[in-house]
């Protein structure tokens, strides 16, 4: 607590002051009746820049973009009722990907709660299963504990979203504030158990065919360098989940890239042969493991995770270590022997040579892989890449040369179409020096298209690469492969003119289909400052391959 001259402040003013004290300088949201006192107080803040989203879900994803790019909790705001319900998808998305978020919602006055008042909804009840924790604030005084606590919970241990629902009368309630609480930050964690570290080291030292399996927790923990160091010292071929891409540069000689449903065959086949799997900050998601019984069937498992409930959840670990993965890796590194593992690395090299990821058309910018490569050729590792959800997301995950942790922002667990563009806006707001590229599809972009005007208004350096195949591509692909080619409800009959749509929102746009030199057009578009939409037509029948059919084991891939 810090002592200052006592002040009479409203709950709304207290919220704004606490956010300032947390170091929040940008937040996204939409005002409405039940949160107007906070917005009134916000208007007096000289420190906080409020970004006016055009849909609360967009605001939620902008906050996610800020949090994912920086690793620090970010804030979004919404009014009661529909404002709060519109925010829910972005909160659920943050929960599944362990993103620190503080969502602040207005609520009807306490005396009207439970009366079906105008724009009243049970925000507290609705948000219980999709938040790490939530609060319904009962008095202005309580805000002094709740707001710092919300940040503390969001950032501590396994990060996640926290919702604070504040009734309007609490926002208006005036109280004397003499002491300010310290800003809420991540709690220190107890050091990992030394005996478990030695057992894990023994298993790594004794393994013949080990594989290191990195998940999003490695990125969250800032442990990418430690993970690469472990891989290099012990010669561990390394696979990454969708969430971990960038943790090890994809062109590192030990990298096997992404595992799972759309991983390369060599990656899944190497996992099939491994005798030790070292899972670090990964949760054995079904898209990564395929049929669990067929995942690494010969392997013993070392599982390191900050969340004890992840250990033994899907696969029983032979050694399970609960702890911050960065701290565990730091202690593990001196305990493992330097090893060359020539035979295993040679076997992995053979698998890579025989079953590489096939990227047809990579030299032709008018194909999916070729377009992605052409975009990458215009940028360096300082660029941030976001995606929406669908075929384009998987193609980018497979083919973009990701080399930096937090370079890659994608909706993994919830798989939310509509994530990419607002997340890119948030990332660009948090790190304005970077170019932020959002790969999207014609299905996904329409789910938060309204945020184009926010991008224009803020002048953010966001480049949207819209891969348009006039369909819900992954649905089309699954119907083609697994539903007897009965294509239903996945082909769009009406198609907006996306160039004119973008221009109508105030965002300049180009159509790569209509230019003679797409590489030159891309280079020019990506080097200009400010928002830009780059439209590129994609053949509808293009598929993401290889693919593990739903329910199959990872070694039984089709295509590619």
């Amino acid at each position: 607590m810090s002592r200052e001259a006592p002040e009479s402040l409203s709950g709304a003013q207290i919220v704004v002051r606490l956010l300032e004290r947390q170091g929040i300088r940008t937040l996204a949201g939409i005002p409405g009746g039940a949160i107007l006192p906070i917005y009134d107080a916000l208007s007096a803040s000289k420190l906080i820049h409020h970004v006016l989203a055009r849909h609360e879900q967009g605001g939620g994803f902008m906050a996610q973009g800020m949090a994912r790019a920086t690793g620090r909790p970010a804030v979004c705001m919404a009014s009661s009722g529909p404002g709060a319900t519109n925010l829910l998808t972005a909160i659920a998305d943050a929960k599944l990907d362990s993103i620190p978020l503080v969502a602040i919602t207005g609520q009807v006055p306490r005396a009207m709660i439970g009366t079906d008042a105008f724009q009243e909804v049970d925000t507290y009840g609705l948000s219980i299963p999709i938040t790490k924790h939530n609060f319904l604030v009962g008095s202005a005084e309580e805000l002094l504990q709740v707001i710092p606590r919300a940040f503390q919970i969001a950032a501590s241990g396994r990060p996640g979203p926290v919702l604070v629902d504040i009734p309007k009368d609490v926002q208006n309630q005036v109280v004397e504030v003499a002491e300010w609480p310290a800003p809420g930050g991540a709690d220190p964690l107890p050091p990992p158990a030394a005996d478990l570290i030695s057992r894990a080291a023994e298993m790594i030292n004794g393994a013949v065919r080990p594989i290191l399996y990195l998940g999003g927790g490695v990125v969250h923990s800032g442990a990418a360098a430690a993970a690469v160091a472990l891989a290099e010292k012990a010669s561990l071929p390394t696979v990454m989940t969708l969430m971990a891409l960038g943790a090890m540069p994809v062109d590192h000689q030990l990298s096997l890239g992404m595992l799972g449903m759309h991983g390369a065959r060599c990656t899944n086949l190497a996992l099939d042969e491994c005798d030790l799997l070292i899972a670090v900050g990964a949760r054995f998601d079904d898209r990564a493991t395929g049929k669990v019984a067929g995942f690494c069937p010969q392997a013993q498992i070392v599982h390191i995770d900050i969340d004890p409930s992840e250990l033994d959840k899907i696969k029983t670990a032979h050694v399970g270590i609960a702890g911050d993965v960065g701290a565990v890796l730091q202690r593990l590194l001196p305990a493992v022997d330097g090893a060359r593992r020539e035979a295993w690395l040679a076997r992995v090299a053979t698998l890579k040579a025989e079953h590489p990821l096939r990227t047809p058309g990579i030299d032709d910018p008018r194909t999916p892989y070729g377009l992605i490569r052409a975009v990458a050729d215009c940028l360096d590792d300082e660029a941030t890449i976001t995606t929406d959800v669908g075929q384009h997301q998987m193609w980018v995950a497979q083919a973009y040369p990701l080399r930096r942790p937090r370079q890659w922002l994608t909706s993994g667990g919830l798989g939310t179409m509509g994530f990419g563009m607002p997340a890119a806006i948030g990332a660009a707001l948090a790190e304005p020096q970077r170019t932020v590229v959002c790969f999207s599809g014609d299905g996904s972009i329409l789910m938060n298209i309204q945020e184009l005007v926010t991008a224009a208004e803020e002048g953010v350096n966001v480049k949207i690469v819209l891969m348009n195949n006039s369909s819900l591509g992954l649905v089309f692909q699954q119907q083609t492969l697994f539903y007897g080619e009965r294509i239903y409800a996945s082909k769009f009959k009406g198609m907006p003119d996306f160039v004119r749509v973008a221009e109508g929102f105030g965002v300049p746009a180009i159509d790569l289909d209509g230019v003679s030199d797409p590489r030159a057009a891309l280079a020019a578009a990506l080097s200009a400052r400010g928002p830009m939409l780059i439209h590129a037509g994609i053949e509808m029948r293009e598929q993401v391959l290889p693919m593990v059919p739903p329910g199959a084991a990872n070694k039984d891939m089709i295509g590619g």
């Binding site: 507290y124 009840g125 219980i128 299963p129 790490k132 924790h133 939530n134 319904l136 919970i153 969340d307 004890p308 409930s309 033994d312 959840k313």
Partner: protein, 102 residues
């Protein structure tokens, strides 16, 4: 559960969970929500404040299945849950309550 005898209780392989929690509105929702989202039925619930009423104790009677260990870990993660203790079906808390359910 009212008609179950002590032996029947054990035969069904039930478990009794004892939770120390903060006592405020919504805590029970957090706890039971973890069970309901997994379609994991809670057979019996008992809650009373303890001491000065700052905290409560929740007793849950649940079927023992392979998900129980994960359930306990999930319950332990809740901010308002201070401690979780796991007992066997022979625990007396619900058995002694049976007379109120006749």
């Amino acid at each position: 559960m009212n008609s179950l005898t002590r032996t029947e209780n054990q035969a069904l392989a039930r478990a009794v969970l004892e939770l120390d929690v903060n006592n405020h509105a919504g805590v029970m929702s957090h706890v039971v929500g973890l069970f309901s989202r997994r379609a994991y039925n809670v057979e019996a619930i008992l809650v009373m404040p303890v001491g000065n009423g700052q905290t409560s104790r929740i007793w849950l009677l649940v079927n023992e299945d392979e998900r129980l260990e994960q359930m306990v870990k999930q319950v332990e993660k809740l901010e308002d849950v201070l401690a979780v203790r796991r007992h066997g079906a022979e625990h007396e808390v619900f058995i002694r309550l049976e007379e109120f359910f006749r």
